[in-house]
Amino acid sequence: MTLALLAVQTLNGLQLGVLLFLIAAGLTLVFGVMDFINLAHGVQYMLGAYFAVTFVGLTGSFFAGLALALLAALLAGLLLEFLVFRHLYRRDHLDQVLATFGVILFLNELVKVVWGAAPLHYPIPEMLSGSIVLMDGLLYPVYRLAIIGAGLGVALLLYVLVQKTRTGMRIRAGATHPEVIGALGVNIRRLFMLVFGFGTMLAGFAGIMAGPILSVEPGMGDQLLILAFVVIVIGGIGSIRGAFLGALIVGLIDTLGRSFATDILRLFLTPSAANDIGPALASMLIYVLMAGILFFRPAGLFPAPGR
């Protein structure tokens, strides 16, 4: 367990954390403001990656592909909102879960029909390829650093948007008192569309950025969706700050746990027992963390006021 390895895994954890944040931010806003549980949010992440496969292939440029894929992800999200989600806002949470589960089944299968079941890839852009030396004996890929940078940039942007602008104020108000701001003359429908479209684009952006380092395949959003739910529940539903901290905590603990749990257990247990328990314990860590946090703070670390 050298220092360099620890540093690499910490960076990897951060990178998973910012990807989770991009997904969780939209999820927590849509949930907080619209009181809508959207299981299909993970599908938006997958769609972003698939659109990027197509558009990067067509244009031959990563950044042109990224822009077109973002637009396509937004349009797909708005289409879903118009066809399905709009009819679910006033319904029971479980109805929402059931219907959006149907959307997941449908879209996972649809991408299999359109793009095939085999994993796809697209290349890292030229200017972000290669690795740089961060410290002695520590080479780290530039692209992964770029993901971390982009994620932190989006977090900052979101902070300014939500905390410092008039629209952000309305969104915060909508999260706690939707009826009141409706009565004050704010067009709730339009606010919802805005929040939803924005969340969709963030998830799509996460998918586009993750595409070159993870394989693009049907169902790739499902596992991350569960992690994103863990994140927003740890952070407190409706709280961007909670989603950010929750995402970093989950990303770091999950990554570091998988790298070091077995080694740490070897200090106390026989090697074979450590090999058996280590991987399972590592996978379990974030759930233990979530159960622990909810035990002491049943509404997450940063519960949105008034909920």
Partner: protein, 313 residues
């Protein structure tokens, strides 16, 4: 059974159970018997979930853990050459009850989506614990070398006997839960869903009623797990994935929450539809997904109420 009961929707369980009973007579091949046997096992588990989800309003996303606990009680028993059901069944029920008591006591501190997620957390812990049991197959699971014996008798080795045993367990669970729902306990449990503040104002503690229901549901689900282990003659962590818990919720909501017979109908429709659509096309989810959405949008309150049979619970 009077005409009045039938008119109020009592016909649905009657039709369902008659149908189950006739399957081995009508369909001569082992495939149908095996398929419907499996359907009935999941109907039993969905039924148990309906007690906490539909009646008590507690959406658990970790219910599949109890299937696993029951299945592993049978599986671990056979790994040590203990086939006797009089040993493994009480042990499995006890383990499931204890797990439900501890995790329920912690989970019930939270509400709504937080409850969904904390039950998911405990479900995942159970799942990963099962994958780490390398002595009992770990990830790959465990093959049973024989089915559960009852008082030394190997009745369950016969597929038809196993089928009717499953049917008996399902019917027994249905009647038990119906009695529970209609009892004073059941009325209070429903009240805790509708208005916990009023229940508390009446001097009753919602927590106790919810926890009791959670333990009952967990133990019944573990019975389903024991039957599943005998039915497939195989035990694996795959029984306890969160996707499985999600499917159980889908079955209950699809059939109609809080109606009991709806949970059975939901399990039957979900599993048979899945089976037959998969036979038509490899891309059956393209049909199944939109069907789910349509049911939510247009058959509000689930299939049982849609058919006008929601009044039996």
């Amino acid at each position: 059974m009077t005409v009045g009961v039938l008119a109020r929707g009592g016909w649905l369980p009657l039709v369902l159970f008659l149908g189950f009973a006739l399957v081995p007579w009508l369909a001569g091949d082992g495939f149908m018997v095996s398929l419907v046997g499996r359907v009935m096992i999941f109907a039993l588990v969905a039924l148990s979930l309906d007690l906490i989800l539909g009646v008590g309003g507690l959406a658990s996303l970790g219910h599949a853990a109890f299937i696993g606990i029951g299945a592993y009680a049978v599986g671990i028993g056979t790994a040590h050459d203990v086939y006797e059901g009089l040993v493994t069944i009480p042990l499995g029920l006890l383990a499931a009850g204890l797990f439900a008591l501890v995790t329920g006591a912690i989970s019930l501190r939270t509400r709504g989506v937080y409850f969904i997620m904390i039950t998911l957390a405990f479900g995942q812990m159970a799942f990963f614990t099962a994958t780490s049991l390398s002595v009992y197959g770990g990830d790959d699971g465990l093959t049973l070398w024989g089915r559960t014996e009852l008082a030394g008798q190997r009745w369950l080795e016969d597929d038809i006997t196993l089928y009717y045993t499953i049917l008996g367990c399902l019917l027994g669970s249905f009647l038990l839960l119906r009695a529970v729902v209609r009892s004073r306990f059941g009325r209070v449990l429903q009240a805790t869903r509708q208005n916990p503040a009023r229940v508390a104002a009446l001097g009753l503690e919602p927590f106790r009623y919810r926890l009791t229901a959670y333990v009952i549901a967990g133990m019944l689900a573990s019975l389903g797990g024991m039957l599943l282990a005998n039915h497939t003659e195989f035990v694996s962590p795959a029984y306890m994935t969160w996707q499985r818990s999600g499917e159980l919720i889908v079955m209950v909501v699809l059939g109609g929450m809080g109606t009991l017979s709806g949970a059975i109908l939901g399990a039957v429709s979900f599993m048979l539809l899945e089976e037959y659509l998969a036979e038509i096309t490899q891309h059956w989810r393209l049909i199944f997904g939109p069907l789910l959405i349509l049911v939510v949008l247009y058959a509000r309150g689930g299939l049982a109420r849609f058919l006008g049979a929601g009044g039996d619970a």
